[in-house]
């Protein structure tokens, strides 16, 4: 019996450690990465160097080298695993590239145009009768004011409707109620309305009410509200559902009415999340271009009356500066970048406020 088995069991050399054999060393991925970066640099130095090409080539070499190495030393399955890990990481780095590139481009191009005068002046040309010279004045004040007014009105419309709808869905509607189900579905669908369609809706609405050429800041606010309401509803709903049911029941047990329970118990508990959601919703719609362009058109004049006449806004200023430049094309492009930078700064500020609010006003004791 033993005679038949022993020949196959006979070890032919030193016994390998079964736990470490057939495996690549621990930090092999970093070594391969360094190697492929170097190889790629050498190859590209021969052909002409650029950073994007260097990184892309390095990534390709890295994936191939690691795959081959792993197939030789380990096995197919582990090779696939390592290559997928590499691919997934590359995908993530690939997503960071546009983010960094966008922010860098906006700051680099906009920083030259943005100064105190740009913020405090309106743009337009002034004619000096004495010297017969026309001086072109570049400024974004009309756009800043327009953006703030239009977004402000949109927020005034959307926030009450949004919060009240969320309260209806969470506090009043029975689960399975047809209206609650319909509203939830419609809110979901509304988040997908193309922004330009919202602009066309506002334009059509005000054309029918006021007549042709019904451009106004208020019309743009209505368009933005269509986009903003679903965002507010969803975020408020989410926050209200996080309020523990115990709190409500404790309140009812003390004989407090539903209205007081909602306003004094539920809303204060969820207020940090609600404010955060609203800030992010404002940050989202403040950058919308198409609906404002449809509904409020564009102008270089200062107009602070939202109910009459076209109104300029920062995103539209950035768009028209590039698409319909004035006589001095370079200056138009510059002011477009300036407007874009101001817009990004506004969005960043709103995002920061949102995060600070979330941190500072979080319910006490939960952190």
């Amino acid at each position: 019996m033993s005679a038949t088995i022993s020949p196959t069991r006979q070890p032919t050399g030193p016994i390998a450690n079964s736990l470490t054999s057939g495996q690549l060393p621990r930090f092999v991925e970093w070594y391969v990465l360094a190697g492929s970066l170097a190889l790629s640099a050498v190859l590209l130095l021969l052909m002409g160097f650029n950073i994007a090409g260097w990184l892309v080539l390095a990534a390709v070499i890295y994936l191939i080298a690691l795959g081959i190495l792993s197939i030789v030393v380990e096995n197919r399955r582990k090779a696939t695993d390592r290559v997928v890990r590499g691919l997934v990481t590359v995908a993530f780095l690939l997503a960071l590239a546009p983010l960094i590139s966008t922010l860098f481009t906006v700051v680099a191009n906009g920083i030259g145009a943005v100064n105190w005068n740009f913020i405090t002046q309106t743009s337009g040309s002034t004619f000096n009768a004495d010297t017969l010279e026309v001086t072109q004045q570049v400024g974004a004040l009309q756009a800043i004011v327009g953006t703030l007014i239009i977004t402000g009105i949109a927020a005034l419309i959307s926030i009450p409707i949004g919060i009240l709808t969320a309260i209806y869905l969470v506090e009043y509607a029975k689960p399975g109620n047809w209206m609650a189900r319909t509203v939830t579905f419609l809110v979901d669908v509304m988040t997908g309305i193309p922004s330009i369609v919202a602009g066309l809706f506002a334009f059509s609405l005000f054309t029918l009410i006021v007549g042709p050429k019904a451009f106004s800041g208020f019309s743009a606010s209505v368009a933005l509200s269509v986009l903003m309401i679903p965002i507010v509803v969803r975020s408020c709903e989410e926050m209200l559902r996080l309020v523990p049911g115990d709190l409500r029941e404790a309140s009812y047990a003390l004989g407090v009415s539903k209205f007081s329970t909602i306003t004094k118990i539920v809303l204060p508990t969820a207020i940090a999340g609600i404010v955060t959601g609203i800030m992010l919703a404002i940050a989202r719609v403040i950058g919308e271009t198409a609906p404002i362009f449809m509904a409020a058109s564009f102008t270089d004049n200062f107009n602070a009356n939202p109910f009459e006449g076209p109104m300029q806004t920062l995103p539209v200023m950035a768009y028209t500066g590039y698409k319909f430049p004035g006589q001095d094309i370079a200056a138009s492009n510059d002011s477009a970048w300036g407007a874009a930078l101001l817009l990004v700064i506004l969005v960043v500020i709103l995002n920061l406020i949102a995060r600070v609010v979330a941190k500072v006003f979080a319910p006490k004791g939960s952190r």
Partner: protein, 386 residues
């Protein structure tokens, strides 16, 4: 419907013990119900006003109408021959964006949910969500001065070596204002929406499934193939559809980057043969259009509304069905079980509970990304747990 909720148990309670129904209560109930109803009114209003404005142009005789025979709308037999190429262009640009963007987005989601160190995952997720906060106009400007020149060498290469494929044929653009450049920017814009929904779904995979796969000797990738992907399939599909919906309606990036023509062309690298999209066509022609031409543009907008509504509804239905099919499966699984084995019944419950929450997360996360508050809500949840 007018008086839902706990008002009925209150009425049934013995006199003297029920809470006082103050007028404020009724007013508040009315207000919140009214707000909810206003959502339906608004959506109906959007459709109604677009239809009212669009009907004259859709019904008009385009060949003999002097107003429609000049400017951007000249030379079309009727509304449908005008809008046909536009619909094709919209779908084509979005499809390219989806082909480029969706695999990368799903890769990022996997990286954040399963590969990145746990501590970094939150920050990395926030970085991707930041992409969603950048205004579309900024992406448009960025596309003009960064993406256009960046893609030129690639376009040349594709045209020289793969020019026999219709997509890469034709004369290569020298400025780079091609549909490919537009689609690349679109892909960047839909990344965050697909990523954050897929990420939420992947994180919902039951820990037991993953550990079971690993315990059987699967590598990480095999574990993901066997446990994570099957579990999150419907969620990822609906995330992709929501990304498609976003790409369909994107206006400014396309309007700024592409130099368009209204025609059906699959060429991606040419200058004057780029199929135009509905949204960009409206943005470009709206300021110069006359009344009837504007109504024609609104008509194309109505079709865009219908298309994106259909895509979004499909996405929600797929996301919702995941929950329903789980319930059906529960009955099946229970029927197959030996009747008296509590541990298996519990196990089935465990699996299905996980599935149901995943379905909820799909819809929740889908809406959440629109306000980028996935991050905050998650923090909140963790806070509550603590």
């Amino acid at each position: 419907m007018s008086k839902p909720g706990p008002s009925s148990p209150q009425q049934r309670a013995p006199k003297g013990m029920r809470a006082k129904a103050r007028p404020a209560d009724r007013i508040f109930l009315g207000l919140s119900t009214g707000s909810a109803a206003s959502i339906m009114v608004i959506l109906a209003g959007v459709a109604l006003f677009l239809i009212i404005q669009a009907v004259p142009a859709i019904m008009a005789d385009w060949q003999n109408n002097p107003e429609l025979n000049e400017g951007p709308t000249s030379g079309y037999a009727n509304f449908w021959t005008y809008v046909g190429p536009l619909i094709f262009g919209t779908l084509f640009a979005s499809a390219i964006a989806l082909i480029i963007g969706a695999p990368i987005a799903i890769g990022i989601a996997l990286f954040i949910s399963h590969y990145a160190p746990r501590r970094l995952a939150g920050i990395l997720g926030y970085l991707v969500d930041l992409l969603a906060a950048v205004p579309s106009i900024v992406f448009g400007l960025w596309g003009i001065i960064v993406i256009r020149p960046f893609l030129l060498p690639l376009s040349d290469w594709l045209n020289t070596y793969l020019g026999w494929i219709p997509f890469f044929g034709g004369t290569v653009s020298t400025t780079g204002s091609t549909i490919l450049a537009g689609a690349v920017v679109l892909a960047v814009m839909i990344l965050p929406i697909i990523t954050s929904i897929s990420r939420e779904i992947f994180l919902q995979t039951p820990r037991l499934h993953e550990e079971a796969a690993l315990a059987l000797g699967a590598t990480k990738w095999e574990m993901i193939k066997m446990a994570v992907f099957p579990y999150g399939r419907s969620g990822v599909i609906s995330a992709t559809l929501l990304g498609l919906g976003r790409a369909l309606g994107e206006t400014m990036a396309i309007a700024l980057i592409i130099s368009p023509a209204i025609l059906v062309s699959v060429r991606m690298l040419t200058e004057g043969e780029n199929s135009q999209t509905i949204a960009a066509n409206i943005a470009l022609n709206f300021p110069i259009a006359t009344t009837l031409q504007r109504e024609a543009l609104i008509g194309t907008g109505l079709l865009l509304f219908v298309i994106s509504l259909a895509v979004n509804m499909l996405a929600r239905i797929i996301a919702g069905r995941a929950g329903k099919s789980a319930l059906k499966k529960r009955k099946k699984m229970l029927a197959q079980l030996p009747p008296s084995d509590p541990s298996t019944v519990l196990a089935v419950d465990d699996v299905l509970a996980g599935r149901a929450t995943a379905a909820q997360a799909t819809t929740g996360a889908a809406a959440a990304i629109d306000g980028d508050e996935t991050e905050t809500s998650k923090e909140e949840r963790e806070g509550n747990d603590a």
